[in-house]
């Protein structure tokens, strides 16, 4: 009786799909949906006030000083994204290539490069905060020790260097990830292809440009998109190293910090505003979702199937 079998099968599939769907709905879809709803109301502390339409969005985008804070945070996210794209993903690709070509000590370096990725962000943040300490920090101690006193700066305390220092730490910690993904991509390239290419040219550069780079395109897509999402959701590292205010005077303020401070209030400075905070969250979410989706489609087209 095929019909009964089919029902059993349907039941079975339903039983398997419903629990994860329910979890997704409760813990992902519902919070996003409710944040969306919150954004359209006025909030007095925790009390939901009246429906205000797009007022909260207008506040964070066009009223001063929120507008310039939003802009400033957004600009910083863009800087973070492009810097990390070059430093983290660029260097990651070069490292992956070096590891793939099995330069001396590759086995050791494979582990060494990936090691910081395993560390918790909290540990990395505290560690580097100590390293950058203006008085006792090893970074400044070393500079003073080798006579480069002018380089002994309060790295996290001046607007010119604070964001750069955070970007550096992030790259230090995460470089192993793009490296690993690129390396995996490179290892999938069939040796016949490479052997054939080697018969044509001796140049490593041509090899990279014509063979390796096009064939690791799927890895590049993954790494780029994840970096994009990560850069615009950037929160833990700045929170631990410079605090919720994006100290000093907002030079390291990013959308994640700005959203958190607005929605939940900064204990030592501000009040909480769920309305504006939710509006920010919705804007961040929409921006990331739209750009990431668009970009994924674009990058996918570029990929070559082996």
């Amino acid at each position: 009786m095929p019909r009964l079998r089919l029902t059993g099968r349907t039941l079975w599939i339903t039983a398997l799909i419903v629990p994860p769907l329910a979890v997704m709905a409760t813990f992902v879809a519902y919070p996003i949906g409710s944040a969306l709803a919150y954004a359209f109301y006025d909030w007095q502390g925790l009390q939901r006030g009246e429906f205000v339409g797009l007022q909260n969005f207008y506040n964070v985008l066009f009223t001063e000083p929120f507008a310039s804070w939003t802009q400033r945070a957004f600009m910083h996210n863009i800087i973070v994204f492009f810097s990390l794209m070059v430093i983290q993903n660029g260097t990651g690709f070069i490292l992956a290539y070096a590891l793939w070509r099995e330069l001396p000590g590759a086995a050791f370096h494979r582990v060494a490069v990936f090691l910081p990725v395993v560390l918790s962000t909290v540990i990395i943040g505290f560690l580097w905060k100590l390293f950058f300490h203006p008085i006792f920090g090893p970074v400044n101690q070393i500079f003073r020790g080798v006579g480069l006193d002018f380089l002994a700066q309060p790295w996290l305390g001046q607007s010119s260097t604070a964001l750069g220092s955070l970007i550096f730490v992030n790259a230090w910690a995460w470089i192993g990830f793009p490296t690993l993904v690129f390396l995996a991509g490179m290892q999938r390239i069939p040796t016949e292809l490479l052997d054939a290419a080697r018969m044509e040219t001796d140049s490593e550069w041509v090899l990279i440009k014509k063979i390796v780079w096009p064939l690791v395109a799927p890895s590049a897509t993954v790494v780029f998109i994840l970096l994009f999402i990560g850069s615009f959701n950037w929160f833990e590292l700045p929170y631990i190293m410079v605090g919720l205010d994006g100290s000093p005077f907002g030079s390291t303020d990013v959308l994640g910090l700005y959203f958190y401070r607005t929605a939940f209030g900064n204990q030592s400075a501000g009040v909480q505003d769920f309305g504006n905070g939710s509006a920010l969250a919705v804007l961040i979410f929409l921006f990331i979702a739209v750009v990431a989706a668009f970009w994924t489609v674009r990058l996918r087209k570029r990929e070559i199937q082996l």
Binding site: Q44, L46, H133, P134, Q158, F264, G265, A269, V271, Q272
Partner: protein, 412 residues
């Protein structure tokens, strides 16, 4: 089966109805993780006198306390009794109607509390008190007496004397001040700790009367003084965070720390050998009044939805009693606002005396109700000013403009 269900439901109902009569269990939330032991003791004292009430204490990380509390209250899983903050951060919780209104009848201790303390826990919209205030904090300068004695220095009274003292400590190879501006809120504390006497009571009164704003020369002068004294902060102080600044002072490497009286207990626990003294912000001209900055930290509130309102009121009354205030002062080293409390510790006694001449810690007390709060503004503006990015006038201007977006008296 059905019978069984009915029976067990009936049993459950009976138990839940009978329970309150046997023991009233109250939950109590606090953000003072470091004071857990002392609070357990306070609770034990209370339970000894009230055997029918048991209280379980839960401590929560301070940075996220308000968020966690707010979420719990909104989800009907809040505690029966809780610490709440003061002023703006208090209002965000109180305004939603989750807290039990208190008065002198339910909590007799409130009758004698000083007015500014009660105001910190009063909702401006309905004028009702929602929490028993627990500690006042004073902004002043804490100094290391050993270093002062060793160098033959005296507590500076005037700004010039402060500069001399600072120079002398620096000449002796130590840091004059341990303060750093890397942590944003430290920029607000130093304005009050070092500048209150220059800012002065007249400015404060004019400000409250809506007759002046922060571009007033009296306020700008305090900012200028701050720029001047920051010469004596450690090298690279813009990158020195709060915890490091505390360590510098606690380890005896620096002579002075401009900050809150809440630091004293902290310093003493880090280094019990420290011999500390305090002095109020120095004055510009001899003969001017010495002032400290004063605010109230928070209070104990009851949950409006609690199942045991009377037990909650009983416990709150205990927390408002002189007996508790005395314990609180002695074991936690904090200044209780409850009248008649005597301080064993001479340093606390001195702080309590300095409190007689004070102006409020302005931004927290009056401008932390709406964004951009005065605190947010002054923290980032002073941080930028001390880093050399802005002049005191520009900083004062920016603070005023930020507040003017919602505060009418500044809009003219």
């Amino acid at each position: 089966m059905k019978k069984y269900l009915v029976r067990s439901a009936a049993l459950l109902g009976a138990v839940s109805m009978a329970l309150p009569a046997f023991a009233q269990e109250l939950s109590f939330w606090s953000w003072r993780q470091e004071d857990r032991e002392q609070y357990e003791q306070f609770i034990a004292d209370f339970e000894a006198d009230n055997p029918d009430i048991t209280i379980s204490l839960e401590t929560i990380e301070p940075q996220n306390y308000n968020t966690i509390l707010s979420t719990a209250l909104a989800g009907d899983s809040g505690p029966d009794i809780m610490m709440v903050r003061a002023y703006g951060a208090f209002e965000t919780v109180a305004e939603a109607g989750y807290l039990m209104p208190l008065d002198e009848e339910t909590v007799p201790g409130l009758a004698d509390m000083p007015k500014p303390a009660l105001e910190a826990e009063t909702l401006r919209s309905d004028g009702k008190i929602y929490a028993v205030p627990f500690a006042s904090q004073t902004m002043l300068v804490i100094y290391n007496k050993d270093i002062f004695d060793q160098l033959g220095l005296e507590e500076p009274e005037t700004w010039d004397e402060l500069l001399e003292v600072s120079q002398a400590i620096e000449d002796a190879g130590m840091y004059a001040f341990a303060n750093g501006t890397g942590t944003a809120w430290q920029n607000e504390t130093i304005v009050s700790a070092l500048g209150s006497s220059i800012i002065g009571e007249d400015f404060y009164n004019d400000l409250m009367a809506g007759e002046t704003d922060f571009t007033d020369p009296r306020f700008v002068e305090a900012l200028e003084a701050l720029v001047e004294i920051s010469e004596y902060f450690p090298d690279g102080f813009t990158g020195l965070d709060y915890a490091s600044a505390q360590q510098l002072f606690a380890s005896g490497m620096a002579g002075m720390f401009a900050g809150g009286s809440f630091e004293i207990a902290n310093f003493m626990s880090q280094n019990p050998d420290l011999d500390l003294g305090v002095f109020p912000a120095p004055v510009k001209e001899e003969g001017d009044q010495h002032l400290v900055g004063l605010f109230f930290d928070g209070g104990y509130a009851g949950n409006a939805q609690t199942e045991h309102p009377e037990a909650v009121q009983k416990f709150l009354s205990y927390l408002a009693s002189q007996e508790f205030g005395q314990q609180f002062a002695n074991s936690l080293g904090n200044i209780s606002p409850i009248p008649g409390v005597e301080f064993e510790d001479p340093l606390l006694q001195e702080v309590a005396e300095l409190n007689q001449n004070s102006i409020p810690y302005i931004m927290l007390v009056h401008f932390r109700y709406q964004e951009p709060s005065g605190s947010v503004l002054i923290q980032s503006e002073v941080q930028e000013m001390l880093a050399g990015g802005k002049t005191p006038e520009e900083a004062a201007q920016a603070v005023t403009e930020g507040i003017a977006t919602y505060y009418e008296p500044f809009q003219q």
